[in-house]
Structure formats: C-alpha cells, structure tokens
Amino acid sequence: MLKKSLFRKPKNELEYQGEGKRQYPSVPDDMYISCPECKQTLLKAEVEENFFVCPKCKYHFKLQARRRIQLLVDADSFEELDAELQPHNLLEFPGYDEKLAAAQQKSGESEGVICGVADINGCRIALFVMDPAFIVGSMGTVMGEKITRLFEFATAHALPVIGYTVSGGARMQEGIFSLMQMAKTSGAVKQHSDAGLLYITVLTDPTTGGVTASFAMEGDIILAEPKALVAFAGPRVIEQTIRQKLPAGFQRAEFLLEKGFVDAIVERTEQKQYLTMILKLHQGGICRG
C-alpha cells in the first residue's frame, strides 16, 4: 500500500513564510519586559546591557539591524554604503507599494538590509545586516543588489565580509527578480572567495528559503545564534508535505550543528570577541587592534 502522502505534490519551498510571520517579542519601551522563553520579568535596562539576551535563560531577543550594528562594531566606525537604493514595484504587483511603505514605516529602513564598512576591535570589515522588521528580511531585488555591491566592494578593497542573515523567504511581489538575486549574490560571493578573501555568516532567527539556499550557506565560516531556526523549507511547509509533526528542535541551530551545517553556535554576548579572533587569524596586517 502506498501512503497517500506520496501522491501529494510537494509545495514550492519558497511559499513558506509562516515562521517568519511569527511575532517575536521585541523590547518595548517600558521599564520592565517579560522573557517569552522563561517568562521572568526583567528590567529592560539589564536586557539591553546584555546585548538583548535574557540574563536568566539566554533567550535572544529579536534585534533590528541598526541596533545590531551598534552593538557589534567599534564606536563611530560604521560607514554605510548604498543607503540611497530604494526598492521599486518592478512588476506593478497589486498591493506591493503599500506593503513597502508599511515596511519602511515599521523598520525605519528603506530596504531589508544595511550594508557598509566598519571596524571590529580595529579589524576593518565589510558588513551586511538583514533587518527582521522589514518584511522579515524577504529577498528583494534591491536587497540582492546591495549585498552584491558589498561583495564587489569587498573584493576590490580586499576586505573580509561578515553577514548577519534573517529571512522569511522570497519577496514574491518581485516575482522572478526575487529568485534571480540568489544567483546574483552567489556569483559575487564566489568572486570574493576566489580572490582568497574571508566570508563569515552569522545565521539568526529565522533564516529560511532563498537566503538559506544562497549567501547564508556560502560562508567560509558559518556561525549561528542559539536556537535560531535555519531552514530551506520552514517547519509548516514540511508538515504539510509529509503530514507529520516535526520532532522538537528540528531545524534549530543546535540541530544544524549536529548535522554538520554550521561551524559553531555563538551567543550574542560573545560574538564580537569571537569574530575578532577569527579575523585576526586571517588578516596579516589589516587588524590594527
């Protein structure tokens, strides 16, 4: 007897956006906040001081890109690149203009990634950080263009690249142009790699879909934040395809570590130091620190 599920067509992997839409509690403007993991009431200032990580259970709060850059790089060292690039409704897709306006309003950013150069403990790097507040870091044409330009810049200036990823999947309102960003960015990563330069990715919760199937998984060194969901097809799509519940911890960073797909899990509070050590082991003379 064949199981009925055999006859079900697999769902297209990038359809999945469910996990990305899950509301992660970000830190509100009150004095106290509640940790969604351990339910403890925490002093907001204490959480902030701890890199937005719960001091009790190490839950990693969702972090907007600009905040993350602030926490990561040396003070006043960040110089943004291509900030002026604006997304367009290339296919004149209904409702997309409104969606973009809402995302820009919510995130305060023009696109879902911030790119630039900065110093980390005196080491010069090219940096991209994706923003969970901008349509959950969905892959749009301008996002792909900014990341591609960053890699081209880094190749031209012999800089290592550090990339923080977060993505709910494709920007379907940009149709095939969204898909083509996977190839375009991968080409730029390859040229950077062939020039003998270092690329480190840090996978944050959630990194899924086309971003996972391109530049997120192309790092020489792949790090992840604890418990980050990292998947090609997200849990809901898989459950629909195979019609079973997934085992606990499936597709979390710890699972990927066990299966051999990430190099190390690094807590947010340790990341700057960890990245510095990697950079210093790779750079003859570029680190001043």
Binding site: E13, L14, P94, G175, G187, G210, A213, S214, F232, I238
Partner: protein, 267 residues
C-alpha cells in the same frame, strides 16, 4: 493524458500545460536531443536521487554532459522520481557531474522540470539549502559552457540550482517562477483559488521572461502533443550555441555569465 493547450494569452493556461501529465519529460528530451546517452548515478556522499537523470552523451560529434530533472512517466516511474522533487543528493550528483564536465571540457546541458526542491525531513537534515547554494556558486564559475533548458515547471530555487547558465531557454509553455501561483494567492490573498490572477502578476510565462531579459530563447510549441520537429530544432540550436561558446576564451565566457545575472532587473 490531459489535453494540450495551444498558444494562449492566459498565463495560467501555460501553468496547466507545463504540469500536464503526458507532457514530455527529461527522459524524452535526452532520448531525442542526444545520442549514446550513458546514465551515471550517485553523489558519492549519501546516495542516488532518481529525481535527477544525469550522464554523458553526444550531440552530433560533440560530447556533452546532460543533467535533467525527471518528473517520471506514469505512476510507478513518477513515484521513483519523487515527481521531480529533488533531494540534496540530486543537486550534489549534478554538481559532481558538472565538475567532471569541466575537467574533460564537455559543455553541460541542464534540463529543468520541477515544481520545486523537495520539502521533507531528510532533505532538510542533509542540507537542501546548502546543496542549492553550492550549485549556484560553483556553476557561476564552472569553466565550461552551460545551457539550461526549461521544459515544464521551473519552480523556484529547486529549478535555479540547475539554471545558472550562459543561456537559459524555455519551451513556449514552460513556466519559471519564484513561487507557484497557488502558493502566491494563498499567502497574499488567503485564497488559493485566485491562482489565475497570481499567475498573471507573477510574469512567469516564457514570453514574459524573454521580455524581461531573464531568458535568451523561447522554443515555439506549434503542437504540444508532438515535439518531433521541436527536438530537431533544439538539437541544432544547442549544437550551434555550444560550438560558439567553445570558441570563446573561458574568462570571457565566465565574465559574460556573471554579467548576465548581474544585470537582470537593473533598469
């Protein structure tokens, strides 16, 4: 066997034709476009994925490597092929044979027909995302000509993983999209029945994609039930294009391949 759709201006009709049971799959294309095809198996790491048929063959006097996503002909074969939903092993087998093609200076023909890479436990556990990502990177600098021919469904990253090429061609009724029209409609409008509307907006037909600079050729299908003449025409086109690409210095070919993707969507 469903009824074939003749040239239609309704994009969703192309979707239906691209998925039609009985439409020729990679097996027919390989049999008709090449001679002396020898199928090779396995990724040398985990197993052999029957959703991809790959090996070496010749087109006239030109040895080529052929890699096709296979949906299967008939129920038993389709089950064996997992309905063309590829696992990481399939993409790794494809890459292994592309590297072999590079070594022996053989051009690569990829034939694409999938609703998407497989979404399952094993596929995730064994790095579906990583496997696709690696193909995208490696194909961009593979030192031999690559042509990808989309014959039916070109479903998202699972299709792109075999479509980083010097030229991408599509059958007239093939589709290529970041998401299925049903999935798009269900996510955006919570109504998968609006798939016709989604299909129109996604611009997923061969003619639309040609106009947007995403592909180089549309192969006309005068009669989707009979590709006899189409095969001959495509065979000639492939032979000529491969010969032309082989004349170019490899650095020039790779630079053009990079620029091809670099410029898509730039206005």
């Amino acid at each position: 066997m469903g009824e074939a759709v003749v040239t239609s201006t309704e994009p969703y009709d192309h979707v239906l034709e691209a998925r039609r049971k009985g439409r020729p799959t990679s097996q027919q294309f390989i049999a008709n476009l090449t001679e002396d095809f020898l199928e090779f198996h396995g990724d040398r790491r985990f197993g052999d994925d029957n959703a991809i048929i790959a090996g070496i063959a010749r087109i006239h006097d030109l040895p080529v490597t052929v890699i096709g996503i296979e949906k299967g002909n008939g129920l038993q074969d389709s089950i064996k092929r997992n309905f063309g939903a590829v696992h990481p092993e399939g993409y790794r087998k494809a890459l292994r044979l592309m590297k072999q093609a590079e070594k022996f200076h053989r051009p690569v023909l990829c034939i694409v027909d999938t609703s998407g890479a497989y979404c399952g436990l094993g596929a995730e556990e064994r790095g579906q995302g990583q496997a696709i990502a690696e193909n995208l990177m490696e194909m961009m600098t593979l030192k031999t000509p690559i042509i990808s021919l989309l014959i039916g469904e070109g479903g998202s990253g699972g299709a792109l993983a075999l479509a980083v090429a010097d030229q991408v061609w599509m059958m007239e009724n093939a589709i290529y999209s970041v998401i299925s029209p049903e999935g798009c409609a269900s996510i955006l409008w919570k109504d998968s029945k609006k798939m016709k509307e989604a299909a129109r907006h996604l611009k997923l037909t061969a003619l639309d994609l040609l106009g947007m600079g995403v592909i180089e050729q549309v192969i006309p299908e005068d009669d989707p039930q009979d590709f006899t003449e189409v095969y001959q025409q495509v065979q000639t086109m492939l032979y000529d294009q491969f010969q032309c690409s082989l004349q170019k210095p490899i650095e020039e070919l790779l630079q053009q391949r990079y620029q091809r993707f670099r410029m898509i969507g730039i206005q």
